[in-house]
């Protein structure tokens, strides 16, 4: 390139960038509010990301048809982040360029942490073009503790809260004597392992933690060696934060080796996991969640009927289980926040969300202002036969063992939040 053409190329690049920036700024004036969904749509966890996208598009349509968002419609932009923090930052950039002021993500707390930090930085540098990060599933407690920031809201119970629920339940189960922890080796799994030890020690000091394994994420093809270890340790209970193929393969290997233990999982009902686990998990796999399909059946109510109908309609439309009850809650709260604030400007919406109490069919939920963590009722359920709604055509579905009300799941926070003036 001659110096002259280089100069021309540079000026046109700058002109393009300015044009793009101008377009992004103009997005406020448009009729739709854009929300970018940044999750894996390829690679080993693509099935999880794809299912999340379907939940969003279904419930966005639902809320658009039922009142809309401050008179506007919400529009979903799905961007593949290949499960990688690096690609997520590129995705965030692209989302902002396309005029999105709301982003949502859930799979992988390492990705969540990167996004949360990037959003905060972006908002600091671009006060005219701010972004809110609505987290529907990344459960690392750090995101609402030391790493908290004003722009992040979490609609899933964090890992500590889920473990609080699990250990409260285990506290009253005298059969549990030896616990084995097995988790994926990244922030989420490490924190499950650490907190589980702490809480078990507090609530049932007589329980022995007989093993604690961390394994690389998505790289183990055969879990049999881990099963041999669990077997040899004499454990009667396994607590695991594993998800996707890493959970399915674990339970499958366990069943084929004839290992007789109870699994307390976060994601036993996670998309694709029940079918992969199959009959191997009957009566053995438990999960802690804010929703499963049989909840409205077990405690009938008018609002519950609406949810049950939504479940059936979702299943018919996508041949997929409606799994993320919290995505519905999140979009419902977003709708209410925008209506209350009479604006879709991120700071106004964030302020309306802070401290908001919202009624769901499962009970009231509250967005804690201190750390932007949602407190919602949690349920412990077991994978069994003979329930009204089976999951993923397996003939097995979830049956509630215990309910823990929202306030009872709350844990203390170390978050010191700086709010925009």
């Amino acid at each position: 390139m001659t110096p002259k053409t280089t100069l021309t190329a540079m000026t046109s690049a700058i002109a393009l960038a300015v044009a793009a920036f101008g377009m992004a700024g103009a997005a406020y004036a448009e009729d739709t509010i854009k929300i970018a969904y940044i999750d894996p749509l390829s690679g080993p966890f693509a099935n999880v990301g794809d299912a999340g996208a379907k939940h969003f598009s279904y419930f966005i349509d639902y809320f658009n048809a039922n009142g809309g968002f401050n008179g506007k419609k919400l529009e979903l932009i799905a961007i593949d982040n290949k499960s990688s923090p690096k690609d997520s930052l590129v995705a965030l950039k692209s989302a902002i360029d396309q005029g999105a002021h709301f982003i949502t993500q859930g799979n992988g707390s390492h990705v969540g942490a990167a996004l949360s930090e990037a959003v905060a930085k972006h908002n600091e540098r671009n006060p005219d073009n701010r972004v809110l990060y609505l987290n529907y599933a990344a459960v690392d407690p750090a995101l609402t503790n030391d790493a908290c920031n004003f722009w992040h809201f979490r609609f899933d119970a964090n890992s500590d809260m889920k473990l609080e629920a699990i250990t409260n339940y285990i506290k009253d189960q005298p059969a549990v004597k030896k616990v084995y922890l097995i988790n994926m080796d990244y922030s989420h799994g490490q924190s499950v392992s650490k907190i589980a030890r702490k809480l078990l020690n507090e609530k049932r000091p007589d329980i022995e933690v007989v093993g604690d394994d961390l394994h690389p994420v998505g790289k183990v093809k055969d879990f049999s060696p881990y099963i041999s270890k669990i077997k040899a340790s004499g454990a009667d209970t396994v607590i695991t934060g594993n998800w996707g193929a890493d959970l399915s393969l674990l339970v499958k290997a366990s069943a084929s080796a004839g290992l007789d233990v109870q699994y307390y999982t976060y994601y036993g009902g996670g998309l694709g996991t029940p079918v992969a686990i199959g009959a191997a998990g009957e009566g053995k796999v438990k999960q802690v969640t804010e929703w499963h399909a049989n909840l409205p059946v077990e405690t009938p109510s008018d609002q519950g009927k609406v949810l049950e109908d939504a479940y059936v309609a979702f299943l018919q439309k996508y041949d997929l289980d409606f799994y993320y009850g919290r995505i519905r809650t999140m979009l419902g709260m977003l709708q209410e926040a925008m209506n209350q604030a009479k604006s879709d400007e991120p700071v106004a919406v964030a302020k309306a969300l802070e401290g908001m109490t919202y009624q769901t069919a499962m009970g009231p939920v509250t967005m804690r202002a201190d750390d932007h963590q949602l407190a919602q009722p949690l349920f412990i359920s077991t994978f069994v036969k003979g329930v009204k709604y089976d999951t993923e055509h397996t003939g097995l579905g979830w049956k509630t063992d215990a309910k823990i009300d929202g306030p009872a799941t709350e844990t203390s926070t170390t978050c010191k939040m700086q709010r925009p003036s």
Partner: protein
């Protein structure tokens, strides 16, 4: 401890055998034919999906035969109408072609069967416990995998080294002009070998599908490890691939059982490393945590110290 050791060995051999079934096809295609086939694991996945679909109609046993044949046929078509044209532009073109192919196959699988795993389980005939040792069950299906893998190795080895067909194949791969001059159709030999390689991958898929999860990400999950097997075992060597598979399977499985860490060992002899910071984190990593990445470490070391691999006959 004995229990862990025995079962780790058993499971290690089993995993090794599954790896071998997968990589034997790649040995033919990559290290003998010299085609850099990135899509090999995709044929493995196709095998699993085809077998699932066929088995819903005819049962497992017919699927076991039909699925590899179908995938082999597809492989031959791809060689005839795709790879053959690309081959003359060298390795980079091949790599790009098969790389694209891998994505294409994944997307096609997603379009037909969706992203959620399909319900492809162990066939009822083989769904029982073969033996129980020290309180742990060894499923019959795993024994079946071992049996098939051994049969496959024997058949492949004998075909390549002891038959006239094997002789022509070997000669065609190293001296194609001479073989062509003797009146053999070399392009057809290449097509058959490629088809055979993909059929072998598919057979591994048919058999591996029920114990792994049959979902669109499975090719991506297994893609890299089979290259490790082929390169570690040595280019052009079926025996090398066999030994490498077993080694990787057993080492990886045994490593899981070891909770040994640098910090823990030093603490046992009275040296306490700092708990926090980089050193603390590093010293607490256990061998079991690193197990699934050990094969890649082995690959890197092998390439540095013995580039032709365990039993390789060629340098590259």
């Amino acid at each position: 401890m004995l229990e862990i050791l025995v079962f780790s060995l058993l499971n290690g051999v089993l995993f090794g055998m599954l790896l071998f079934m997968l990589s034997s096809g790649l040995t033919l295609i990559f290290s003998m034919m010299g085609v850099l086939n990135f899509a090999h694991a995709s044929f493995f996945m196709l095998g699993a999906y085809f077998a699932y679909q066929i088995s819903t109609v005819t049962g497992f046993w017919i699927a076991l035969i039909l699925a590899p044949l179908l995938v082999g046929g597809i492989g031959m078509l791809i060689e005839r109408y795709g790879l053959r044209r690309v081959h003359k532009y060298g390795h980079v073109a091949e790599l790009l072609f098969t790389f694209g192919l891998a994505f294409l196959i994944e997307e096609i699988v997603v379009m037909i069967w969706g992203r959620i795993p399909v319900d492809y389980g162990v066939p009822a005939d083989l769904n029982f416990t073969f033996f129980t040792l020290l309180g742990t069950n060894f499923p019959a299906y795993r024994a079946f995998i071992l049996l098939i893998a051994v049969m496959m190795f024997a058949a492949l080895f004998l075909t390549i080294t002891r038959t006239r067909i094997g002789l022509i194949i070997q000669a065609a791969l190293t001296h194609p002009d001479m073989v062509a001059a003797l009146g053999h159709n070399v392009p057809r030999v290449f097509m058959m070998v490629f088809g055979g390689g993909t059929a072998l991958a598919a057979l591994a898929g048919v058999i591996g599908g029920p114990i792994l999860v049959t979902e669109p990400g499975m090719a991506f999950l297994l893609g890299p490890i089979i290259f490790v097997v082929v390169v570690f075992g040595g280019m052009g060597s079926l025996g090398g691939a066999f030994v490498a598979s077993l080694l990787i399977g057993v080492i990886q499985t045994l490593a899981v059982a070891l909770d040994w860490s640098l910090g823990g060992t030093l603490a046992a002899i009275g040296i306490n490393l700092p708990v926090d910071g980089f050193i603390g984190t590093f010293s607490r990593i256990t061998v079991s945590q690193t197990a699934p990445i050990l094969p890649y470490l082995m690959l890197v070391l092998m390439l540095i110290f013995r580039p032709k691999g365990l039993m390789g006959t060629r340098e590259s």
